[in-house]
């Protein structure tokens, strides 16, 4: 199993009380999975993603990635884990404007000492996401959809085992959304596990598993039979 | 546009300083009249000398930097000719600076930069080698004019060389683009 969480809890303090943003989550993801986690805003899905990425420490429970409990690692080791095992596509705009598109994609390769050069790999990834011509462009010259594709290419530069995306299509139009989701589907077919958090129901059909998050609790659902754009969903959120 | 303006203005300023500096801000010594017997007494008269006291020297004689109105032939110091030469070179550098702003073509500006560097070398050689200045360590031209011209021409040479290198590289990049 690539990823396994057991009894994962993350509590936040609000005034004098504490509340669990993630409340006893058990999750297993294998390398063939393309998992969509759906839920309304504030349900705890982004917190779960950040716990798995090692950006937050859990209050209790464990997170095993390829058998290693990442919640007990120090900053150096968890950063290396995040750099090499995980590809993370953050919510919103995250491409650095002081670097070219090519340098943005290459950047994670150089954050740790590695042999070789990332240029060829980066150009190949840009080609796969349809941005080969814009390698030397400044991010200021790109559209929202193009920037999202740069983030995805960047996330793949170190051949991660797991690609995580936090609401990757939330600020995009329908056509661009469809293009991005097709890209994710291709990446999944190439053997990279995907864990995607979204509140857009029309994107869940691209994966093979659907989970819902509600008030910190994760529930596995049946994958909708229809493709997005006309699907009827067998689940609804609590009012 | 930015490169044209910045480099052009820089050389305009340097040129003006090289041209008029030796006449104004860091002036050369000027012209000194020759020391004939008659003139010596003219220059030193006015002091009363006694056995117990001394003689107060004449102020003009001490300074030796103003042009003497007394009749007779004059010895024009080297630094005077240096200032004249630098006037011409400085004006040339200033004009080349203006041309740097006026011309858009990178190749033309590259040529102008090479010309500026060579003019800078000439501006450096005039006071140091080709003509020179007074040999006395405390004369104004040696204390002030010579180091000022050396620094200004050094800056002109360095800036011109850097500008030429920058233009050469950016022109090559432009040509390499499909």
């Amino acid at each position: 199993m690539l990823l396994q969480t057991k009894g994962l809890v993350k509590e936040y303090k609000r005034g004098n009380t504490s509340f669990p943003a993630v409340n006893g989550v058990d999750l297993s993801v294998s390398s063939e999975d393309f998992v969509s986690i759906v839920g309304r805003s504030g349900s705890g899905k982004s917190t779960l993603l950040n716990l798995i990425a090692g950006l937050l420490k859990p209050t209790s429970g464990s997170i095993l990635v390829e058998g290693v409990d990442i919640s007990s690692l120090n900053d150096e080791k968890v950063s290396l884990y995040r750099n090499s095992k995980i590809g993370y596509v953050p919510q919103g705009q995250s491409v650095l404007s002081n670097l070219t598109v090519l340098d943005n994609v290459r950047l994670p390769f150089y954050l740790f000492k590695r042999e070789g050069d990332a240029t060829e790999k980066a150009l190949s990834l840009l080609d796969q996401v349809g941005l080969a011509d814009l390698a030397q462009a400044s991010p200021r010259e790109l559209s929202g959809g193009e920037l999202r594709r740069v983030s995805i290419a960047r996330a793949l530069i170190n051949d991660p085992a797991l690609l995580m995306a936090d609401e990757p299509t939330s600020d995009l139009d329908a056509q661009t959304t469809a293009e991005i989701m097709e890209l994710f589907r291709r990446i999944s077919q190439n053997g990279t596990a995907i864990l995607m958090v979204t509140h857009e129901l029309e994107t869940v059909g691209y994966g093979n598993r659907v989970l819902t998050m509600d008030a910190g609790t994760l529930t596995e659902r049946e994958k909708p039979k229809d493709v997005p754009g006309g699907a009827s969903y067998p689940f609804r959120f609590q009012a | 546009m930015k490169n044209r303006l910045i480099s052009g203005i820089l050389f305009l300023v340097l040129g003006i300083l090289i041209a008029v500096g030796p006449q104004t801000i860091f002036p050369v010594c000027g012209i000194h009249r020759g020391q004939s017997a008659a003139q010596s007494s003219d220059q030193t008269s006015g002091g009363e000398c006694t056995q117990m006291g001394g003689c107060k020297p004449n102020a003009d004689a001490e300074k030796g930097s103003a042009e003497n109105a007394a009749a007779g032939s004059g010895t024009v110091m080297k630094c005077f000719w240096t200032a004249r030469a630098e006037l011409g070179i400085g004006i040339l550098i200033a004009v080349l600076g203006i041309l740097l702003i006026a011309f858009r073509s990178a190749q033309v500006r590259l040529g102008l930069s090479i010309s500026l560097a060579l003019n800078g070398i000439l501006a450096l050689l005039i006071p140091n080698v080709l003509i020179g200045v007074c040999s006395d360590a405390h004369s104004t031209c040696r204390m002030l004019t010579l180091p000022a011209l050396t620094i200004l021409s050094g800056v002109a040479i360095a800036a011109a060389a850097a500008n030429a290198a920058y233009l050469f590289r950016s022109d090559r990049k432009r040509q390499a683009k499909p």
């Binding site: 950063s79 002081n98 | 006694t50 117990m52 006291g53 001394g54 004689a61 040999s135 360590a137 002030l144």
Partner: protein, 403 residues
Amino acid sequence: MKQAPLSIRRLSVCNLKRRPFRTACHIAVVAVLAFVLFGGSILSVSLKNGTRSIQERFGADLIIVPQNYDKSMESILLKGEPNYFYFDQAIADQAARQEGVSRISTQFFLITLKADCCSVPIQLVGFHPETDFTIQPWISQKYGRDLEDGQLVVGSDVADSGRKSLTFFNRQYPIAARLEKTGTGLDASVFTNMNTIRSLFQGAKAAGMGFLSGTDPEKSISSVLVKIDSHYDADTVAHNIRSHISGVQVIKTRSMFTGISNTLGSLPVFLYAISIALWVLAAAVLTVMFSVTANERKKEFAVLRILGATRKKLAGILLNESLFASMAGGIIGVAAAAAVVFPFNVYIGDRLGLPYLQPQISVVLGILALSLFLSFLVGPLASAHSAIKISRAETYLTMREGE
């Protein structure tokens, strides 16, 4: 396609280039600091060197000159302004007999309004090598033997170093030795023995210097240099001389040096105080600047954390940026200061009117190293707090700010 690796160093440089105005301000602040540190230190040390030089070189305790010519004498010694004055040789004999006087020596001054070497008047000093104790010791040190008739010993600033002779009043005199720089008026003087100065005097008279007609170098002198007995103090001996010999002024060299030190004394302190104040100000300005910058760049650093940058690396990026900008500023400032204090050092000394002697190369290098170190340090020190804050920020919360 060949591309340079994207190291932390290159990333820092890219960040600096992205904000040219801010980077330029940082460089400018540090450049001004480095300019004052280096330039001020060289100025201060040169002035101290000059004062020490004149104290070391000048062996006389008292100098007797004609009445009202004490300032002229000081001008010769300190500023190298040529002067001449005379009184009777008999005064020297009278001075030698005063209580507390250990030894004396006399000097004869002449000026030449023009020599073939120089565009400004030259001070000629005739002295007695057999009795002199001010110039002779360092002539012996440099030249190693007695000065012969017709020979000159010149100060470091007289004519080009390649000259072998000087022509005065249509006669050529060979240069026997050139003395080391003292930073005083003695650098602009020419020294000869009494036979040579008499020959020069005749030449000057023949050249029409009519003011000398009443003077006879056999019977006239310009000054009497006095060494006092160790059991007496300068004030007492000076008083003795003044009370027994009329028409003279007695200069106490220690007072002259104290006067120089007093004039000088506050200047180095002032320069150091300015340097310290400027360093503190630069650190404060840069600290505020980095604090604002770090705040603006929170999201950028959060993205770097997400991509796998360690907290140490984040801090390293900011510290690198501040170090590079400080290094650029430090080098520019020091270079600008060097372009002022070294080429113009003679001019500076002349304008200050104080003994001015540039330090040796080893001292200059020491001052350079210290100035650069302090300049390079100010940036990283100012950014340290922001760097720590950035590295400790909660990435998750930073990314969600503004939602």
